[in-house]
Symmetry: C3
Subunit: 345 residues, 3 copies
């Protein structure tokens, strides 16, 4: 889509600070790679050095940045929140082509399924008995939905998502391809030389406005539910165990593993590759840094690092000490020799 | 399903120790959340404190726990193995609704495929030439089975499982959604500026009573087979490399990675996120703790931790010492100064 | 397939050094398990001890190995590069049965899709509008291909691969089952108590001769492309973030995680379970060892280990020192006591 900078500014909560208001903008790009007729953004001090050399035609900027270095022909778009204005510009300039919604004749819909209005159901998707799909929800190709599943309004399930029986999904939930919701949790009791399976008769409940990446897994509860709170965002290849209780607006990055029965407070952040042992509780807004292994509860508003997880500063102090440890051995030997000399006098 | 406590006790190897035998039980729950008409279990000393306040109507308990604190109206169900009795109760009270077995008209079955009796084949599942499916096996929607695959009796393949050519699967094997059996292993030889692929002409053999979680991968052998022994249980998002030889009753938890040509003895436990370098052998019943990285062989009946893996006690002693290391540097400096003073006399 | 050793030698760049040229070879096996009528290889000094006891009928060998210990009836096949000759023999002796190519009537092909010649399209695969598939490409069952996708010649997509809109794939690319190409990257801006999604309007571009394992994910760019260079090989359960730029002939092993906007030079090797923080650049031919966590740029031709990543030798020196640390505490105490004694004199 092509807009003038003036039109773009209006649609993105910005105003033209300086420059030609009728200049055409066709797309968005970052400040280093942007070219003519592209809009970019200056959102961090780290990037101010690129401002004077940018080839972009327009740039979102807030009043906190100096514009002295800006090229003369760069249109500056003043706004309160350049990141959000730019994000709006991307949405305006690069609209997703509308899906022509339809119920594919090559889908398999069992009896007693309830379909809302304005639904899309792709080829080779299947919905088993007693499930219901809310208005406006889009289900792509080869999605498999079990029995007694409830999916809310305006959800999107990308190809090859699998939803096991009894799952409950709220409104505006997006699930990317290959993600498996509500497979059995991993639990066995060892008796008489065999692992006896713990039955998993619970389910998974996903609240509104959740997004889940590709090839992740959320296991169903053994008894009761595994719960994902509203607004929580989950990345790819994440493993969420049975009976977990994840709060609202939690961020769970790629390849995180959460064992069974963990509880995460609102606003918790689990960085990439971190993991929690079973029955761990993480207080609200705590940040678990990348690749950290948490074996016991962590209070609210902490930042923890390492395996086992410690306060970030403590963990870093230990790592810093470790890096000087080989030298300490040499210094120790020197001290030992000097002491020996004194003793031998 | 609703049962009296007496009926429930009979079906779960328990007897009514005290309380009203005709009380109705409708479902099962853990001791903290159980409510009226629910049965629960006291299976660990950790939970004895919850006994006096439980709202459950009945509780499985063994003779090793004191019942003095039990509420007066709680029916106590005495049994030798409360965990197993409770697990039986869950199965009795929460039966999985029976699948109406059928061969979907929307499945694709190639020529020369052999189907046993009492099979379920879901919509959009495909079976290629020369494969055979044993009696009673259930194949859900969108499962893809290659050529010359043998699947035994009473197996269950959940939606979107993929089985490559020549795989052999025993009886009573369960595979959850998104799991890929027998994709090529990862092997290349670097020659003349390109990675030449090592052909993978082997296969995967899975013995009886194996369960595999969701979105896991078991690679086929380069030559010969990758083998999973009877009774072994594998969790989600696990990577099992080519030509591995996994023993019987092995437990492999979520996000474990096993490189090519590893051997695991019977009863080995690999906890969550642990990993093995290639050609490693782990002796029977050894436990590899969470997030441990094993680079060389480990003998039987050990418990190892850390990266690189060490005996658990050794690894913990090192971690304990590391946590005191910043303090050691200070004490070292003090010692140095005192020695200097003596030397300067 | 059965060949005489003479025929086999001719097809594998080898010559019969000693032994019966008309002996029949039916299959290939490693030197420890090979039996009569099998060909094997001696490719490493580690395996010379197995030469004298091998039951194989023939063995590829280079002039650098002594053949004094070889059994009398073993045919020795002399060649410059035994690994490659053996690999050729495996391909010759174990040919993959030819696929009968066809466009399944149970596939779903949208309008304005361009299909080349000699294509295979399996049952329940779907191709959305404006996509094109090159000559000779094989698409197995239940593959889902979005809109405006370009796939080159002689590619192979195994069952249940998903390709999102606008992806560009070169020639001779192989993608194993369950892998998801071009799902949205993971990016949000936190405003007013909600995570606002960063739109992902970029795509993924995969060059020629790339192979990708099972259940991996390559996220699309937010703006611009995520790029995989020619000849690069990627294992199973790998997470590749948005806007990454991966060079040529890179090796990415199982369960690796690469965060957004990372750059990998040509020939980089990321061993199993290693991970990169966002915006990290790794110079060409650098090796990141297993389970290493890289938080900042690494120059070319390095070998790094640990979390955070360090030069391999530095990291190992630290680990060696750590293993002696508990002992150092004891020795330190001893020194302290001796010093005290001197001070008290």
């Amino acid at each position: 889509m092509t807009l003038t900078v003036k039109e773009l500014a209006q649609r993105c909560n910005a105003k033209v600070l300086v420059g030609n208001e009728s200049l055409k903008i066709v797309s968005a790009a970052d400040i280093m790679s942007a070219a003519e007729n592209q809009v970019t953004v200056l959102s961090s001090k780290k990037y101010t050095k690129f401002l004077k050399e940018t080839k972009a035609s327009a740039c979102f900027i807030s009043s906190q940045f100096s514009t002295d270095d800006a090229p003369n022909d760069l249109v500056l778009l003043l706004c309160d929140d350049p990141e959000i204005s730019f994000l709006q510009a991307v949405n305006v300039l690069h609209p997703t082509p509308k899906l022509t919604k339809s119920i594919s004749k090559q889908a398999a819909i069992a009896e007693n399924v309830s379909l809302g209005n304005d639904i899309h159901l792709g080829a080779f998707s299947s919905i088993e008995e007693y499930s219901s799909i809310g208005d406006g929800t889009e289900i792509f190709a080869s999605v498999s939905i079990g029995r007694h599943v409830t999916i809310g309004k305006n959800c999107r399930l990308y190809p090859n998502v699998v939803i096991y029986d009894n799952t409950q999904i709220g409104n505006n939930v997006t699930i990317h391809s290959g993600t498996i919701i509500a497979a059995d949790g991993f639990g066995y009791k060892y008796r008489n030389n065999e692992h006896v399976k713990v039955p998993h008769v619970g389910n998974v409940k996903i609240a509104d406005n959740v997004e889940i990446g590709a090839n992740s897994c959320i296991d169903r509860g053994a008894l009761g539910a595994s719960i994902i709170g509203a607004g929580t965002k989950i990345d790819n290849l994440v493993q969420l165990g049975h009976n977990i209780n994840v709060g609202r607006n939690v961020i769970i990055c790629g390849q995180v593993g959460i064992s069974g029965s963990c509880t995460l407070g609102d606003g918790v952040v689990l960085a990439g590759g971190s993991a929690l042992a079973d029955h761990v509780t993480i207080g609200r807004q705590t940040v678990v840094m990348a690749r950290t292994g948490v074996a016991s509860d962590v209070e609210a508003c902490q930042t923890v690092f390492g395996s086992p997880a410690k306060d970030k500063k403590v963990a870093w102090r230990e790592l810093a000490a470790l890096s000087k440890l080989p030298e300490l051995f040499k210094r120790f030997k020197n001290l030992q020799n000097r002491l020996k000399k004194i003793e031998d006098k």
